[in-house]
Symmetry: C3
Subunit: 154 residues, 3 copies
């Protein structure tokens, strides 16, 4: 399977980091709960932030892997790393009181949009390549790599 690992190893690394982050979030919730056995506001906050992060996790994974498989793994993994950074900042700085009622429920919209766009470009490139004769994939990969740098702008 080495020829497959070659094309996905960056995605696997990002997935691994995201799993470690999930475990870190879950341990935070458990710790906050064990300290004080009553439902304190701090527990509610951590629990809600964890819930919002978990709710968007499958969507993020699906779109990152599709973008990485269809077009190029490097920009997809780069966008994934930035998304994990945004998620960490969101979790640490969460100040909302009620679940799913903060504007930040769907955080990292720009990154998800970029990954969805990568996915679409990859699919259209694959579907249209027999008609146009030439495969623009390398050209697209260069553009995508350059565009992913724009995600760094806050």
């Amino acid at each position: 399977m080495d020829y497959v690992v070659e094309h996905i190893y960056l995605l696997v690394i990002v997935t691994l980091i995201s799993v470690l982050q999930n475990v870190f979030f879950a341990l935070k919730v458990e710790k906050e709960c064990n300290i004080k056995h009553t439902h304190t506001p701090a527990f509610e906050r951590v629990s809600c932030a964890n819930r919002n992060c978990i709710d968007t996790y499958p969507t993020f994974m699906a779109v990152m892997w599709c973008a990485g498989l269809c077009l190029n793994q490097a920009p997809a993994a780069f966008a994934g790393i930035i998304y994990l950074g945004v998620r960490h900042k969101y979790f640490v700085g969460y100040m909302g009181q009620t679940c799913q009622s903060t504007p930040g429920y769907l955080f990292g919209k720009r990154i998800l949009g970029f990954l969805i766009l990568m996915c679409m470009v990859g699919i259209f490139n694959y579907l249209l390549s027999p008609y146009f004769g030439s495969n623009y994939k390398e050209y697209l990969e260069t553009i995508t790599g350059a565009a992913s740098a724009l995600l760094l702008i806050p």
Copy 2:
């Protein structure tokens, strides 16, 4: 990776549509929350419908991709599209008041059952092919394609 994309592009398209639908659901929840800051029944309804949809999302993705990889992508993607239609109808017409207490919690059971069956057939076909000498895969693909049309019956 073009030889891989060839076998999964329909699944990627369905995944992409499901991601867009997830984002649409999340924006609905956010919008309903921003209009009225109190916990109105309308917010509760939208939030619960969204939660039920999200809870079954990883299960659906896992079974659709397994069915598509093991047997054939076309019927799996077709069943996936119908599932997304059922989910949309469920979200729009959700009238339950409390989370997870409506009969529709596990909506689209027939489609999930069909995908699980496809998965099993694909695995058995792979495991039994060395013993029977002949590979029935093409025959099975035809049957599966025909059976997927039965999902259209309401």
Copy 3:
């Protein structure tokens, strides 16, 4: 796609079993709700156990598939089966009253840790193989297979 199915069929079987387990959990919640229409403690318990199981499901799937693709599918699938057993025991014996407040919220930590370790070993093996000249993959697979037997110790 037969050369791909060869490398993932054990993972697909475990995924299929986990999906059937998810459906079983969801039906339990639905059944408990239909018997008594009020929010009884029994309903709360089943619903919370189901929620905790669903919350950790995407994390488990991601790490099992990554470990299986990067290193070897047999130990990953074996760890997955044990995880499903632990999850079943957790669901049946759940006695907590409030969501996410039991020490068992992140059950199966040892199995998740083993899968994360497998993932890391696979990635490092892939990245370091050009420098060391020799590929230790077969050696690692034997060690991993032996180590997975240690998971059986309660």
